[in-house]
Amino acid sequence: MRAGRLAVVSVTVLIALVLQASLLPPFSWRGIVPDFCLLVVVAAGLAKDARFAMLVGFGTGLLLDLAPPADHAAGRWALAFVLVGFVAGSARQDQPPARSSLAAIIGVCSVVGGSVFALTGLLLGESALGVTGSLGVVLVAAVLDVVVGLLVVPPLVRLFDRADPVPVAA
């Protein structure tokens, strides 16, 4: 069962990565596109738990760091997505979240992920955009992520659930 879920998640992550890099740019606003990979990590957290989501986040982030056209120190998205997985997994409840709380979870996750990535960039001296410029990008990205996430995350959660039904905790 674990292997089945791993396969489903890996394929989803790869599809998200390719869609994000190749299909979405014509629809971007100033180069900012909805972060499908982040949404996959959030869905993993809501479908299972924080441990699972952190592992998915680490793998997805590392892939995003290393796959072209990325050109920054590997591990920056990995770190950001591990924390996103932790937040999303901690926000998980037994029943599926309502639309408003789902929007809040996605928004918080997107801001956390985006700012951690921006902060590591500032620390490592890889980003010259400055704090205010980065903040603008992070906030716009969060809005896009919430809009797209409300459509994408619930089906993803169902997909991950079906790949491995979680037994109700005893």
Binding site: M54, P68, G121, A128, V137
Partner: protein, 290 residues
């Protein structure tokens, strides 16, 4: 919960370790082999996805025209949209042909040999680095530190290549510094990107000679590096739109608007030596494809 916390700490440390390993840029990162393997594997997938997305490049424009059409008679809307779709897609084809023509012209006027390539993936703005992937790689004769341009002017330089794709650092990236020459006075300076693409994407130009003032409207071209790497000389970059004088460090800073529309990159050319072996036709200096 303790298990979750220890896993969190372990994964955070793993991420930091990856960053530390990867920052040894001098001797080549130990993660570069992984990068190139991923590039080889994902290049074809990205090329396929980009090809599938291309007919929809014009979709955002349809929404504009659709909202106008709503004011028209409702009965005609469906028929109009259908016709419009045909027109828009033929427009995309026509634009692409025009871009290839522009590339051939660029090769002819500059006396350079170009490998034609198409942009297949664009890094998101959330990554704060402006990089794109093109569908020409080592097999096509592309090597790191070669100049990338299109019919309008300078696009950027090649960072790294795999067999079938290459990563290009756009000149607008905040880490990109290009040696530049002001066309009217032949003064040289350094041009750095602001990291912003879109309508307000601009370069900052600092001249080596403090006394030389660029004028508004001056054309800025590349200065050129030894051996043409990473930047070939004489590639148009943009025009000066504003000039600032700084009293404090007695230098002058000019703002340069790029010729290239970095939000609509499609067909680009990589400047290669004329003797390059390639898996595709090269655009030669006489404008022919061979």
């Amino acid at each position: 919960m303790t298990g979750t916390r220890s896993l969190l700490i372990a994964l955070v440390l793993a991420s930091v370790t990856a960053m530390t390993l990867d920052l040894h840029h001098d001797s080549g990162s130990p993660l570069d082999p992984v990068r190139s393997v991923l590039g080889e594997a994902l290049g074809p997938a990205e090329a396929a996805a980009a090809a599938a997305a291309r007919p929809f490049d014009a979709v955002p424009d349809w929404f504009d025209s659709r909202s106008d059409l709503r004011e028209d008679v409702a009965r005609l809307t469906a028929e109009n949209a259908d016709l419009r779709q045909q027109v828009e897609t033929s427009g995309v084809d026509r634009n692409r042909l025009a871009e290839y023509d522009g590339l051939a012209t660029a090769a002819r006027t500059s006396g350079r040999t170009l490998v034609p390539a198409r942009v297949i993936a664009i890094g998101p703005a959330q990554s704060f680095t402006r990089t794109v992937t093109i569908d020409a790689g080592r097999d096509a004769g592309v090597r790191p530190d070669q100049t990338v341009l299109n019919g309008d002017g300078l696009v950027g330089r090649v960072l790294r290549v795999t067999a079938t794709s290459a990563t290009v650092l756009l000149a607008l990236d905040s880490r990109s510094v290009v040696g530049a020459r002001v066309g009217s006075s032949m003064e040289v300076g350094f041009l750095s990107g602001r990291g912003v693409v879109g309508d307000d994407g601009r370069f900052d130009l600092e001249l080596v000679d403090d006394t030389a003032a660029p004028a508004k409207g001056d054309v800025v071209v590349t200065w050129g590096s030894r051996g043409g790497a990473p930047y070939a000389s004489g590639v148009p970059i943009g025009t000066v739109t504003q000039v600032f004088a700084s009293l404090r460090d007695s230098s002058r800073r000019a703002v340069v608007e790029p010729y290239v529309d970095f939000t609509a990159l499609d067909v680009v050319g990589v400047v290669v030596p004329s003797s390059t072996d390639s898996d595709r036709s090269l655009v030669r200096a006489d404008g022919s494809m061979r």
